[in-house]
Amino acid sequence: MSGAAALSLQRWLAPLVLGALVLLAWEAGVRISEVPVFVLPAPSMILAAGFEAGPLLLSSAGHTLRLTLTAFVAAVVGGVLIAVLFTGSRLLEAALYPYAVVLQVTPVVAIAPLVLIWVGVDNASTAVVLLAWIVAFFPVLSNMTLGLRAVDPGLRALFRLYGGGPWQELWRLRLPAALPYLLSAMKVSAGLSLVGVVVAEFVAGSGTSPGLAWRIIEAGNRLQTPRMFAALLLLALIGIGLFAALTWLERRLLARWHDSAR
């Protein structure tokens, strides 16, 4: 086996073996010490609870994933559009950017009740997407603004030399140059979308929002701790899946030309 192959195997195997060992120790520890199930259930019980509530949890996971993706796509589109506007007008950036920061630094939990009142408790899903968007769009906006400005001055001179207009400069120069910045922001933004959705669902907390967050609250109220863990596991899987998909996309788009992906 070559050294590189061994190293790559090690990268996969090491965390898997560690995970398996921790799960075994957890299972054994819980069985030996007889901790009550509602405090810490054994992995086998979590799995059983997961299967038992399978259809319910999966449909909730689908709901959460849908809201997360909606908020994420809106964050990317909104962030990119506002960043392009900022590039076109320094004045607009100077006027708007502080408010984007204000929106970003205000804890989403604190805005959630207001948004719920405005959008209406009946439209919990809309409120949840809006709140997740507020959390997720800022990294896209700030990274994209930076990326659109990080253009080789020599290339800009070249565009001027051949009479390239602002739209050509945006389309042929600034947007491609900003792509690595956008992709790295998207990885952050996807994670934040999920966090935003879960936090917003917690605050919206009612039967009208049937996402995973609500399943966790519901199971918690009933002391069904294994089910809480099962829902948590699904949330983690969604997060990992989003991150893996975006990392794959980044590799695919940048591998041949950008240092970060080589």
């Binding site: 020599g154 565009f159 051949y162 050509q168 042929r172 491609p176 792509l179």
Partner: protein, 254 residues
């Protein structure tokens, strides 16, 4: 100035943003078909001269007289290849024509011709990161030639290359210049390169930037290793070096 002048600076003074004089009453002109080298120590305003000639900078006073104002009549090669890293060789070379809104079949045939001129056949779809430094510079030269310019401005294009590659690029550049009949202005801080390439060498001195000497290089083309080893080559180089030393004065070693 003779009426045939392609491009000229007349009594141009230019200042940097801080108010420091970058150029002081500089006058120079390019005749059709010439290969002029502009030499001088770092910071003497060589790049500013190019920027003014290309119309990328406006002079503080004096005039830029140009017979080439339509986009594409003037090609430019920078010190770095300045390529779009995400675009293939052909996409990079096609850029000037695309910015000039040319038809796509015209772009395709012109790009193919430029690729052939600089010997990049077989690398059309490569990205800049996959090419050597010398090949990247060829892409930059092809991009400058693709509009079939009358005038080519080059700002230390081979400074970052190793000596062997640089000498080869020098010879290929001369061959292109003779074949295409264009006018060239070549900025360099290498006297060796200047004497090898040019029909005429302009010497600049710093603080403030000004042209202090003009030396004709009478050697016939094609030039090759024989010219590099000629005693006249060494003599011209020595003369230029002496003028540069004299201009720099005792307080500063460039």
């Amino acid at each position: 100035m003779p009426t045939a002048t392609v491009l000229a600076l007349e009594d141009v003074t230019h200042r940097y943003a801080g108010g420091v004089r970058a150029l002081d009453r500089v006058s120079l002109g390019l005749q059709p078909g010439e290969f002029v080298a502009l030499v001088g120590p770092s910071g003497c305003g060589k790049s500013t001269v190019l920027s003014l000639l290309a119309g990328l900078t406006a002079p503080a006073s004096g005039r830029v007289i140009s017979a080439v104002r339509a986009p594409g009549e003037l090609g430019m090669v920078f010190q770095d290849p300045t390529l779009m890293p995400w675009a293939s060789v052909v996409a990079n070379i096609a850029l000037p024509l695309q910015l000039m809104h040319r038809a796509s079949d015209e772009i395709a045939s012109r790009v193919a011709e430029a690729v052939r001129q600089v010997g990049l056949d077989g690398f059309e779809e490569s990205l800049p990161a996959e090419l050597s430094g010398g090949m990247r510079m060829r892409v930059a030269i092809a991009r400058a030639l693709v509009t079939q310019p009358r005038l080519l401005l080059m700002d230390e294009p081979f400074a970052a290359l190793d000596e062997l590659t640089r000498e080869r690029m020098n010879e290929q550049l001369l061959a292109l210049w003779r074949r295409l009949g264009i006018t060239c202005l070549f900025v360099t801080h290498s006297l060796y390169e200047a004497v090898f390439l040019a029909t005429r060498v302009l010497v600049m001195a710093p603080r403030p930037g000004r042209v202090i000497a003009e030396v004709e290089v009478p050697a016939p083309y094609p030039r090759g290793d024989a010219w590099r080893e000629d005693s006249a080559f060494a003599a011209l180089r020595g003369e230029l070096a002496a003028r540069l030393r004299h201009a720099a004065g005792p307080e500063q070693a460039p």
